[in-house]
Amino acid sequence: MKTVNMKVNGQPVTAAVEPRMQLADFLREQLRLTGTHVGCEHGVCGACTVEIDGMPARSCITYAAMCEGAEVRTIEGLVDDPIMSHLREAFAAEHALQCGYCTPGMLVTARDIVLRLPDADDARVREELSGNLCRCTGYVGIVRAIRRVLDERKS
């Protein structure tokens, strides 16, 4: 066991973790923050995407023990974020989710796109999203929702 200190959704957390425990499992099983989903556990599908120190990261291939001093934000911790509210509104309006399983990871990535690339065109949005798989929506609604937020923030 190793002791690790990090901030999760603004709250300081100190916990003893097995060295092999991934951040996703730590968040889900120990902190019971189940909004972060796991789809592949090997870094391809993006369902587990969270924000670590302001950057989207795959929590399924990040050891919890490596997060010493890190600031982690999950979908639960982004509920009051204004861009996230905007994205939620757009995702609902554009039917950008069906089963909802990929959705938290999609939203974390989408928020990063909105923040970092205000001028992104659709092709760029798709490229930036390519680390997140959705099996339900065919991505059409997701791309439109992000487009809507990008456009509305400009006007």
């Binding site: 989903h37 089963c99 490229e127």
Partner: protein
Amino acid sequence: MSMNTTSGRGIGARLRRREDERFLRGQGEYVGDIRLDGMLEVAFVRSAVAHARLRGIEKPAGFEDRVFTAADLAGVRPIRAVSGLKGFKVSEQPVLARDKVRYVGELIAMCVAPTRAEAEDIAAQVFVDYEELPAVSDMLEGRKPGAPLLHEAWGDNVFLETFVDGNIAEIARRAPVKITRRLRTARQCMSPIEGRGVVAQWDRRLDQLVVISAAQMPHITRSGLAECLGLDHGKVRVISPDVGGGFGYKGILLPEEVCLGWLAMHLQKPVRWLEDRREQLTANANCREHHYDLTVYADNDGRLLAIDCEATVDAGAYSSYPFSACLEAAQVASILPGPYKFDAYRCRTWSVATNKPPILPYRGVARTGVCFALEVAIDAVARAVGREPWEVRLESLPTREMMPFDNITKKHFDSGDYPECLRRAVAAIDVGAIRERQRRGEPDGRRIGVGFAIFCEQAAHGTSVYYGWGIPMVPGHEQCQARLTPDGVLELRIGAHSHGQGLETTMAQVAHSVLGIEPENVRLIHGDTALSPYSTGTWGSRCAVMSGGAVAAACKEMAKRVAKIGAHLLQTDVSLVRVADGQVIGPSGSVTLKEIAYTWYRAPQNLPSDVDPGGLELTAGYKPVRDTGTFSYACHAAVVAVDVEIGTVEILKYVVVEDGGVLLNPMIVDGQIYGGTAQGIGTALYEEMPFDANGQPLASTLADYLLPGPTEVPDIVIEHMETPSPYSEFGQKGIGEGGAIGPPAAIANAVNDALKDLGVEITEVPITPARLLSAIAAAKVRSAA
């Protein structure tokens, strides 16, 4: 009764989904999110080889009481999914392997520990002594005499052979055009982003096993569990919480469910198993693998005269519950004619047992394969007669005037205008512009092609279609339980399950259309056998028609009951009131559902003396006017650019013209079409689970089993035709699978169109760069010879 269709919130409205709010906040609750007090985790030891006799299983020292094998599971019955079709051979699937293993990934032992990691550690130490046997990894080899036998008692590897003999000889002899092709679709993994998962617990108070599982058909799972565990139905409750995508993958009784059910009873502790992606890919690539030897006869205009086919389906090692090992091939025989009319048909099918995971019906079931086979062959006919592929198709489509139309296999197309659907796709994709562009050539040297696929989707089919197959599940009717709560909220309980289809929204829209109640005041309760009427569940694009019909029936009955009470409160005759806008409206005044509910529950002194004592809680059922199913249909059209140097295919434009009848919620319908089409693009271009000659699956991560991502799926264009079905409650048709049916055919046809000058013809999907380049190389060799 008046229908509330003008409020913009009932049937036909693009109403936002009720379920979105919880998902968008990370508040959904999936199986993996559930932790029960004292819960233990399970990891399975799975077969490392495709075919072997089990000589022995050694539990690691010190962990004897944490590892369970078939020998421990006293009294547990094997899974048996029989078919009543003549000649069907029964497979017995022990939930943990007994004497033999028959595919890589088959369950051998169950290991339990406080955490999943520890359970996996134990599993890694279990020693299995295999006496390896030669494996059947190719269905055609498996059919041959002398092939290794999976189920020795059978004498061969054929679950079922079927034969439809339509006496084609005479027509075939006269036909001026004869096209013969060998076509193949690859084995796939359905790949919902959430895997399977099971939590099981014994409820001491209710003396009942509770199994929480990501299940599309909770009531069928319950029946299967009761049968395998030897329990009364009353002692089994199945809960299916939020489910992260199904597509057929979760429409099955799992051996894991039986194992965990037994374990929860044995340990008297809650247990949980969560499938990981490696298990899903290596042990559960379980669909789509078809082989066709197809001959199409046509006249000089390309009009279809006859079809002759031998189709083989790789059914895997066992017959899955409830759909069985032969549903797929039986469906091939009945639906191969597609949407077309012609005069003679012969089809022989084999469902072959192989050392691979048991086959399950994946979105579209056999339609994706038959559509690919037939549509690719029809394009070959068009090339042979020198006409546009769409013109050739028009020769053989039934016209609007012929509807309803019974095709050669007695499929009853209920309504629509198939030629118009094709013509609209031709216009939307603009064939003329593409031909012009092809003449000019591409600046980057790629080759452009256009392809079409037209097909129909039989949905919500009932007893008359299914009973003949004699499988453990025959659909017929659907029920809804409706209850008006004391504060005027309408609770609807249905036995189907919603896992992305948006039923929590569309069923509220149906209720709104009947009662005028605000959709926010409707709660859909589903996914729990203790709280819902029995149902075969969510499969076969049946919920819009069947659950929608049941909800409408329950709401109509509710309307009668509230009208009676409302009329009394308004001191008028019941014949003078109507139910609308969530109220009972009389000639002078109205009373709300809330007031009526309050009166029933809290102020019965104000009720009419002859009130129906059944009250505001009722069960009503639905059966369509005719149960042969609704027939939605669609034409898919694709434009692709093929790079003949590196073998890649880019989709430049994709159009779907779909007739789904009356659309309950067009936004949700579009979502189903987009998502299905994306999956079909995966079938067409990317997804394949190869197996080597020893039956070893060769892809084990999503880096080698490729799912279409945001850059592979284009911005799909959808056009709707809305011909009401004459047989469903509102004219709605099932459309959930159609998107996944058309793409392999449309895209292969577009690639073949792009490469026709090179003499290249693709007859196998997925069209990977390797496959495409070898087809191009082979064509070069042919033209040189």
